[in-house]
C-alpha cells in the first residue's frame, strides 16, 4: 500500500490520465505487496513447522523404542493436524487458534484428565513404576553376599558416562563385562570393546556409583549379581527374594514367606504385609473412599474442609467490607490528596504476595517478632503456634493483602453509579445512610457480585498465604498425613503429594478433584443467584 506514494509526479500524472492502466497498476501493487508479506510469513511458517515436525519425529522414535504406542500415536496425529492447518489454504481461524490451543490441550486439558486418572490409581512413592521395574528393583535391593562364593578379580571400566565391571573368571581367566542393566557378556579385552579402564584415582572419585553397581550373572536375575566394594575384587550376591515368573510370586529364601500379586500393586504375603517398591495399578475409587472413611485421614480432611470454607468466606467478607468502606470514605470529591492515599493503599496489592506472607511470618514470630516485642511490649503470644491465633493471623494478613483489590473494584463501581440516582433519593428525603443502603449498595452489588464469587474461588485455593505464613501448622497430632490446623485444601494436597518422604499422588489427585467439584458447584450456584439479583434490579 506504500507503492502509489512512491511514484514520481510526471509519470503518475501520465498514468492517472488512463483509468484502465491505473486500475491494473493498483492491482499489481496489491499482489506484490501480498506476495512480499507472504514470502516472510511462508519462510517463518516453514522453519517453525520444520522444527516442530523434527521434534515430533524424534519424540515418536523414542516412544516407539520404549513401546509407548498410545502417546506416540497421539503425537503423530497432533503433528499431522498442525501441518494441515498451516499448509492448507483456508482454515484461517484455526491458524490463529492453534498455537494457544496446543498449550491448552497439553498443559491444561490433558493434565486435568491425567489428574482424574491418577486419582484412581495408587501412584505415589513405593508405587511409581510398572511391575517389571518393581521386580528388578526388589531383587536388586535385597541382596546379600553368598557365603563361601568365589572371588572375582575385576577392573572398573566406563563407557558413555556409565560404569561397568570387567570380570576375570577365577577358574578359566576369561574376561567378560557387565553393568547394571547389562548381564555379563564375554569380551577379548575392554579396550577392544570400546571401554575405558579406570585408574585408581578415577575409582576413588566415583566410589558411590561403583559401590552401587550390581551386575547380573545372566538374564535370570535369580542367579545373583556381582558387586564390588573396593574396585578390585567382586563377590557373588544373591537376593534373599526369589522371583518365580510362572507362579507370579516372590519368595523370601530366608524366612520362606511367599508374597503374591493380589492386585493391590505390591507383592503381599498372606498376613497382609507388603514388600515395596510395588507398582502402579488402577484402584478405582479407593482414594476417595479413603478420604472419607479412613479415620486418620477423614478427621483432618473434614477439619481442613471446614476451615477452607471459613477462610474463603471470611477472606472475601473482611476484604470486601474494608475495601467498600474505604471506597466510600475516599469517594468524596471535596477531600484533598485522595490520589496519594490511593497509591499507598494499593501498595500491599502491588507487593508480591509470597514476600508479604514471609515478612508477616517474621513479624508474628512469638519470641522475636515485631508484634509481640514492640507493639505488645514484650508479650509472648504464640501467634503462629496456637490453632486459633494462627487462623486469626492468617485472616489479618489476608485482609492486608486483599482489601486493596476490593477498594479498587468498589471505587470503580461507585464512580460508575450516576449521581442523579442519589439526587433523586435525597429529594425524596432519604438520609446518607439510606441512600447508600437502598440505592448505591444494591447497584454496586450487581456489578461486584461476580468478582466476589471469583474472589471466593481464588481464596479457596489461596496457597501462598497459608504455606508461607504458617506452613499449615500447627500440625494435627493424630493425623496420618502431614496436615495442620491452618491448612486449606490446596496446601493439604501439596503436602500429601510433595512434602515428606511418603508421597501419595493418588490421594492428592483425589483431593484435587474434590476441590474442583466444590469450587465448580459453589461458583455455579452463586452465579445463578447473582443472575436473580440482576433481574431484580
Amino acid at each position: 500500500m506504500t507503492i502509489p506514494t512512491l511514484d514520481t509526479d510526471d509519470r503518475a500524472s501520465d498514468r492517472r490520465a488512463d483509468p484502465a492502466t491505473e486500475k491494473r497498476r493498483r492491482r499489481a501493487a496489491a499482489f506484490a505487496d501480498a506476495a512480499s508479506a507472504g514470502w516472510k510469513v511462508w519462510l517463518f511458517k516453514i522453519v517453525a513447522l520444520g522444527i516442530v515436525d523434527a521434534m515430533a519425529i524424534y519424540a515418536i522414535l523414542v516412544l516407539v523404542v520404549q513401546e509407548q504406542w498410545v502417546i506416540a500415536v497421539a503425537i503423530a496425529v497432533g503433528v499431522v493436524v498442525l501441518n494441515a492447518i498451516y499448509l492448507i489454504p483456508g482454515l484461517l481461524p484455526a491458524k490463529y487458534l492453534a498455537p494457544g490451543l496446543v498449550f491448552l490441550f497439553i498443559f491444561q486439558i490433558f493434565v486435568v484428565l491425567y489428574t482424574v486418572y491418577i486419582a484412581f490409581t495408587n501412584y505415589g512413592s513405593g508405587h511409581n513404576s510398572d511391575k517389571e521395574d518393581a521386580i528388578t528393583s526388589l531383587l536388586q535391593q535385597s541382596q546379600t553376599r553368598v557365603a563361601d562364593s568365589a572371588t572375582y578379580p575385576v577392573q572398573i571400566a566406563s563407557r558413555d558416562g556409565e560404569f561397568f565391571l570387567v570380570v576375570e573368571d577365577p577358574e578359566t581367566g576369561d574376561l567378560s563385562v557387565g553393568g547394571n542393566e547389562l548381564p555379563l557378556e564375554s569380551i577379548s579385552s575392554p579396550e577392544a570393546a570400546g571401554y575405558d579402564v579406570l585408574d585408581f584415582s578415577q575409582i576413588l572419585a566415583n566410589q558411590a556409583e561403583i559401590g552401587a553397581l550390581a551386575v547380573p550373572l545372566d538374564d535370570d536375575l535369580n542367579d545373583g549379581y556381582l558387586r564390588t566394594t573396593d574396585g578390585s575384587n567382586a563377590y557373588l550376591f544373591q537376593s534373599s527374594l526369589e522371583w518365580d515368573p510362572v507362579a507370579d510370586t516372590m519368595t523370601n529364601t530366608e524366612t520362606g514367606v511367599v508374597y503374591r500379586d493380589i492386585g493391590t500393586g505390591a507383592f503381599t504375603a498372606d498376613d497382609g504385609t507388603e514388600i515395596l517398591p510395588g507398582w502402579q495399578v488402577w484402584v478405582g475409587g479407593e482414594n476417595f473412599v479413603r478420604a472419607v472413611t479412613e479415620e486418620s485421614i477423614r478427621g483432618p480432611f473434614i477439619a481442613v474442609l471446614i476451615w477452607t470454607f471459613v477462610f474463603a468466606f471470611l477472606s472475601v467478607a473482611t476484604t470486601f467490607v474494608l475495601g467498600l468502606f474505604l471506597a466510600v470514605v475516599f469517594n468524596d470529591p471535596k477531600m484533598k490528596s485522595r490520589k496519594y492515599y490511593r497509591v499507598i493503599l494499593i501498595l500491599p496489592y502491588a507487593f508480591p504476595a509470597f514476600l508479604s506472607a514471609l515478612i508477616w511470618a517474621g513479624m508474628f514470630n512469638q519470641d522475636f517478632g515485631f508484634i509481640n516485642q514492640v507493639l505488645l511490649g514484650g508479650a509472648s503470644i504464640p501467634w503462629l503456634l496456637d490453632p486459633i491465633l494462627a487462623k486469626v493471623a492468617i485472616l489479618i494478613v489476608n485482609l492486608w493483602l486483599g482489601f486493596p483489590y476490593m477498594f479498587l473494584v468498589c471505587t470503580g463501581a461507585l464512580q460508575s453509579i450516576p449521581d442523579d440516582i442519589q439526587e433523586a433519593g435525597r429529594v425524596d428525603g432519604a438520609g446518607v445512610w439510606q441512600v447508600f443502603r437502598h440505592i448505591k449498595f444494591p447497584l454496586l452489588l450487581v456489578s461486584v457480585a461476580p468478582l466476589l464469587i471469583s474472589s471466593f474461588a481464588f481464596n479457596f485455593n489461596n496457597f501462598n498465604i497459608v504455606y508461607m505464613l504458617t506452613n499449615g501448622g500447627p500440625r494435627f497430632a493424630d493425623a496420618s498425613i502431614n496436615v495442620g490446623a491452618t491448612d486449606i485444601l490446596i496446601s493439604m494436597v501439596y503436602k500429601v503429594a510433595f512434602v515428606g518422604a511418603n508421597r501419595d499422588y493418588g490421594l492428592a489427585s483425589a483431593f484435587s478433584i474434590i476441590i474442583f467439584i466444590l469450587v465448580a458447584v459453589i461458583s455455579y450456584v452463586s452465579f445463578r443467584q447473582t443472575k436473580v439479583l440482576e433481574e431484580l434490579n
Binding site: 502491588a350 514470630n365 499422588y505
Partner: protein, 322 residues
C-alpha cells in the same frame, strides 16, 4: 477503565474538550468572584476531616510491613530481634551478603524470575492475542462453543493439577530433558497452558472495540490477514496487551506451587521458591539478608504496578462492568 486508554476512543472530541475546559474556567472564575467562606473546623471535620484520620490509620496499616522490611534490610544485626529497632542503623551489608552465598544463588533466582516472567508474559500476550483476533474478527462454526469452553476450562485451575504436571514433566524429561522436569523452558510451556481463557476474554472484549472497518480498509489495500494482525491490530490494542502482559508477569513471579514442583536445581529456581526455602531454613540468623532479598525482589513488580495501575484497575473492573 482500561477501555478509556484505547487510542480510538480515549480522546474526547476537540469540541467537547473545549467545552469542558470552558466549563472549568467558568467555575474557577465564579470561585474567585465569590470566595467560599472557610468552613468552620467542626463542619470541615464532619465532612472530610474524619476521612483523613481513617486515611492516616490505613496508611500506617498498609505501609508499615513494607517500612519494616526496608528497615530490617538495612540493619547489620541480621536477626528478627535486631530488626525491631526500626531505622536505627544504615548498613548495606545485607545487600552484598545476598550475592555471596553460592548455595543460595540469589542473583540466579532474580535473573530466572525475570526471564521466566518476561517470556511467559510475552508468550501469553502473543497466544492470547492470536486467539482473541480469531474470535473477534472471524465467524466460524464452534466459535461460541469455543469461547464458552475456554471459560469452563478455567474453572479447573492449573494449580490443582500440579501432581499431574509433575508426572507429565518427568515423563517428558525422559524424551526431551531440555523440556522436562527441572527445565525453565518446560516451566514456561506449562505456564503458557493457561495463556488462553481469561486473557482471551479480556482481549476479545477490547478487540471488539476496534472498528472492523480498519481491517477492511487494509484488506482492500492488499494487506494479508497476518499483516493486518501484526502491523495494524496489535498496535491499536497495545493497552490491553500491556495489561495482560503485566498481569501474567505478576502471576508468574508470584507462583510458588508449579515452580517448586518443576524446578529442583537451586540454580534454576525462581525467587518465590528460593526465598521461601531460604527463610524456612534460617529465619533467625539471616533475617536482614532475607529482607534485602525481599526489597530487591519487590522493586520491579511494585514499580510496574504503580506505573501501569491505571490500566490494571481498568482490567480489574472491566469484568464487573460487563
Amino acid at each position: 477503565m482500561a477501555l478509556n486508554s484505547n487510542p480510538l476512543t480515549s480522546q474526547p472530541a476537540p469540541a467537547l474538550a473545549e467545552a469542558l475546559a470552558d466549563d472549568r474556567r467558568g467555575a474557577a472564575a465564579a470561585e474567585k468572584a465569590a470566595p467560599a467562606p472557610r468552613r468552620p473546623f467542626g463542619r470541615w471535620f464532619r465532612e472530610t476531616g474524619w476521612r483523613h484520620i481513617i486515611g492516616i490509620v490505613m496508611l500506617l496499616f498498609c505501609a508499615f510491613p513494607l517500612a519494616y522490611v526496608l528497615s530490617a534490610s538495612l540493619n547489620p544485626g541480621g536477626t528478627l530481634l535486631t530488626a525491631n529497632s526500626l531505622f536505627s542503623t544504615f548498613d548495606l551489608g545485607a545487600y552484598f551478603r545476598l550475592f555471596e552465598n553460592p548455595s543460595q544463588p540469589y542473583g540466579a533466582w532474580f535473573v530466572n524470575t525475570l526471564v521466566i516472567g518476561l517470556a511467559t508474559a510475552f508468550g501469553t500476550v502473543l497466544l492470547g492475542a492470536l486467539a482473541a483476533y480469531a474470535f473477534s474478527r472471524m465467524r466460524f462454526t464452534g466459535r461460541r462453543f469455543g469461547l464458552l469452553t475456554l471459560l469452563l476450562v478455567q474453572m479447573f485451575p492449573q494449580l490443582l493439577a500440579f501432581v499431574a504436571i509433575f508426572l507429565l514433566m518427568s515423563a517428558i524429561a525422559d524424551i526431551f530433558p531440555a523440556l522436562g522436569l527441572n527445565s525453565q523452558l518446560g516451566l514456561i510451556m506449562v505456564y503458557l497452558g493457561g495463556a488462553l481463557g481469561v486473557n482471551t476474554y479480556l482481549m476479545y472484549g477490547f478487540f471488539n472495540t476496534v472498528p472492523a472497518s480498519i481491517d477492511e480498509a487494509a484488506k482492500i489495500d492488499g494487506a494479508g490477514h497476518a499483516r493486518i494482525f501484526f502491523t495494524i491490530i496489535l498496535r491499536l490494542v497495545a493497552p490491553i496487551l500491556a495489561v495482560v502482559g503485566l498481569l501474567s508477569f505478576l502471576a508468574t513471579t508470584n507462583d510458588f506451587v508449579i515452580a517448586s514442583v518443576v524446578l529442583s536445581d537451586p540454580d534454576k529456581q525462581t525467587l518465590a521458591v528460593g526465598l521461601y526455602q531460604f527463610v524456612s531454613q534460617e529465619t533467625a540468623r539471616n533475617w536482614s539478608v532475607f529482607a534485602a532479598g525481599a526489597v530487591l525482589a519487590a522493586i520491579i513488580p511494585v514499580a510496574l504496578f504503580l506505573a501501569l495501575q491505571r490500566f490494571i484497575v481498568g482490567g480489574l473492573t472491566a469484568g464487573s462492568v460487563k
